[in-house]
């Protein structure tokens, strides 16, 4: 009798519920991590389709496929969806899956809030995407939504955009509070901060950045809302406000935001490279300090996005030098990754390929960033395709590659099956070639003077744009292969061991694959494996 009762008890509290409601009501960090990752992949494809529309229109000069008004909506929505819908939720998903397993915690500290912070997102993005079907169309003022373009001259749907941003902000803030509380309070007894894996460290710092700047974003969209509907004049020069103020407040959020999208990537790469180089990470302490320095510097360099609005020379010099200073901690990180591989016993499985490509291509993006930091040069590069090439190099083969690397690296732990290695490598090479063919020529057209956010261009840019579009189609369609590989891996494959990778270290590799629904209900005692 008692055995029966216990079994009953087990069913309800130690395994997932059945059916769709499992996902609606779940408070399990693994379920929520999965939801975040699928959601972000869906958004990645949505934003990707918009990128395909953009590249199809730019395939040839002249207007072929879409009208300029719709083109502007595509660039705007592509940016917003990729930043807030694809990259950020993907990292939150990884944090949900991995942070508790890496620090030996049974779950996130605030499981119910975790559920809310995910389920806000589908509503936020439905609201934002629905603006595509509204009168006047979707927001068309670029993802940076500069006022007064986004206030006085905006389509009526801007109000829905503002509320969608509010919802995303609330979701991100709740998610970040959860991450900070989990990392600070739920580490396995005896685990010191400087013993945490770098992914946990980078996420701790990212979460602080999010908590600090998402409220500023909420503030700036609230000011827009008041300018549009309540007769205030924060950004309207005629009413005594100042449009340049918008750019300052926006980039005070915006610059830390770009590090929010890259710091967790640093953590992922710092986990993968040691595994496949079969060496400990070189310079763990300096990695932590470099991450913290980058986070600090991100708050004091925002005006480098707006050199051309007219800033006093002293201000331009300050922001130029401060921006260049970021290259120092970033250089430390790149050095450490290379030093980790140095004389390592390297093997090149798919996650490692993505991680190495990350190091090389992110560095290229970093260098073009340094070029943009030079004030007199920036006056030429500003708002050209060079800028587009720069930030796509840090975001696509930067953040997105690291997310794919993470997916391949931890997929066997999540599903219990190995993914198809040769398909994975095919996916890598298609993506690698696609990304470079897409974005490298954009440097050249940018330097030659092609402005960004335009549906038509002068004839001399035609060849490079055609190459760029072909690369984009290759990159875009190879992501369907990624979807196929992931589904194939979930459905079956070679069984994975607990450790999965020969050189893997960390608490998540001490539990069975697939990771049981509940892990570390009792904290781990042996912390020697905590970081690789």
């Amino acid at each position: 009798m008692s055995a029966v009762i216990e079994e009953h008890h087990d069913d309800h509290h130690h395994g997932p519920d059945k059916g769709i409601l499992r996902w609606v009501f779940t408070t399990n960090h693994k379920d929520i991590g999965t939801l975040y990752l699928w959601f972000s992949f869906l958004m990645f494809l949505t934003g990707g389709c918009m990128a395909m529309v953009i590249r199809a229109e730019l395939f040839q000069p002249g207007l072929q496929i879409v009208q300029p008004e719709f083109f502007n909506q595509m660039t705007t929505m592509h940016g917003l969806i990729m930043v807030f819908g694809a990259v950020m939720p993907a990292f939150v998903g990884l944090a949900n899956w991995l942070v508790p397993m890496m620090i030996g915690a049974p779950d996130m500290a605030l499981p119910r809030m975790n559920n809310y912070s995910f389920w806000i997102l589908p509503f936020a993005f439905s609201m934002m995407l629905s603006s595509l079907f509204m009168e006047g169309g979707a927001p068309n003022f670029g993802w940076t939504f500069y006022a007064p373009l986004s206030t006085e001259y905006a389509p009526p749907s801007v109000t829905f955009f503002i509320f969608a941003v509010h919802l995303m902000g609330i979701s991100s803030i709740m998610g970040s509070i959860n991450v900070v509380v989990t990392i600070l309070n739920l580490r396995a007894p005896g685990m010191r901060l400087m013993q945490m894996p770098l992914f946990v460290w980078t996420w701790l710092i990212t979460a602080y950045l999010l908590i600090a700047v998402m409220p500023v974003l909420a503030g700036v969209v609230t000011m827009m809302l008041m300018d549009i509907h309540f007769g205030t004049a924060f950004f309207s020069a005629g009413g005594g406000g100042d449009p340049v103020l918008f750019q300052h407040v926006f980039w005070f959020f915006g610059h830390p935001e770009v590090y929010i999208m890259i710091l967790p990537a640093f953590g992922v790469v710092s986990a993968i490279i040691p595994t496949f180089a079969r060496k400990r990470l070189f310079g763990y302490d300096s990695m932590v300090y470099a991450t913290a320095s980058i986070a600090f510097l991100s708050f004091i360099v925002w005006a480098h996005h707006m050199f051309t609005v007219g800033i006093p020379i002293a201000g331009e010099l300050y922001f130029m030098y401060a921006t260049m200073l970021i290259a120092v901690p970033t250089g430390v990180k790149v050095f450490n990754w290379v030093a980790t591989m140095w004389r390592g016993s390297m093997s090149f499985e798919t996650p490692m390929l993505f991680a190495i490509a990350f190091v090389i291509l992110f560095t290229i993006g970093g260098f073009s960033g340094l070029m943009l930091a030079i004030v007199p040069a920036d006056f030429q590069y500003h708002d050209t395709y060079f800028v587009v090439a720069h930030f796509h190099y840090v975001l696509v083969p930067g953040s997105v590659f690291s997310i794919m690397a993470a997916a391949y690296y931890w997929l066997p732990k999540w599903t219990g099956n190995m993914y198809d290695e040769s398909l994975g490598k095919t996916h890598f090479w298609l993506s690698f070639i696609g990304v470079n063919v897409t974005f490298f020529p954009q440097h050249f057209v940018g330097l030659a003077g092609m402005p960004r956010r335009i549906p038509d261009y002068a004839l001399q840019f035609a060849d490079y744009n055609m190459i760029s579009s072909m690369g984009a189609f290759l990159f875009g369609f190879s992501q369907l292969l990624f979807l196929f590989i992931v589904i194939k891996c979930i459905r079956g494959g070679k069984k994975a061991t607990s450790q999965v990778w020969e050189g893997a270290h960390g608490l998540e590799w001490t539990i069975p694959s697939p990771a049981p629904y509940h892990t570390f209900s009792t904290p781990p005692e042996d912390l020697r494996e905590a970081h690789g």
Partner: protein, 183 residues
Amino acid sequence: MQTAQNRKTITKLIGVVIGMFAFGFALVPLYDVFCEITGANGKTAGQYVSSSGDAVDQNREITIQFLTNNNAGMPWEFRPTVRTLKVHPGELNSTEFFARNISGKTMTAQAVPSVTPFYAAEYLHKTECFCFEQQQLARGEGLDMPLRFIIDANIPAEIKTLTLSYTLFDITGEVEETLALRP
């Protein structure tokens, strides 16, 4: 124990969130103060009360150029009566701008000034300016609008020319809204 500790961390973090939301709004006045102190942005200060002690520097001559712009959609005719003036630092000068409402209805306008080079803004003192108030003109009505200013005698030696530009904004809609809100 765990819960108490969590609650403490959450309270602190929510404090940061609220603080940063407030900071976003605090940036608005901070920005104005910062621009006023540094003269960044080419914004000129409010009305200047001249002290009789302003010495006129007869040895220096500064060219001041006047520019006018209409903000998008603003139909008024708007121009300076003279394009340039040569003035001595410390001296009180006056000029006029002309505006005519060529639209078919009564409209209200606000002129917003900007000085180039930006750091010269703090040396341009206006004792009287049409930009300190709004202009309401009936259809077809024209108006000469006065500007009286002093260029500070301490203006850096390298500044030989400065440009004062006005952009005219149509604020008819906003004015009506404000009036409608009044009982």
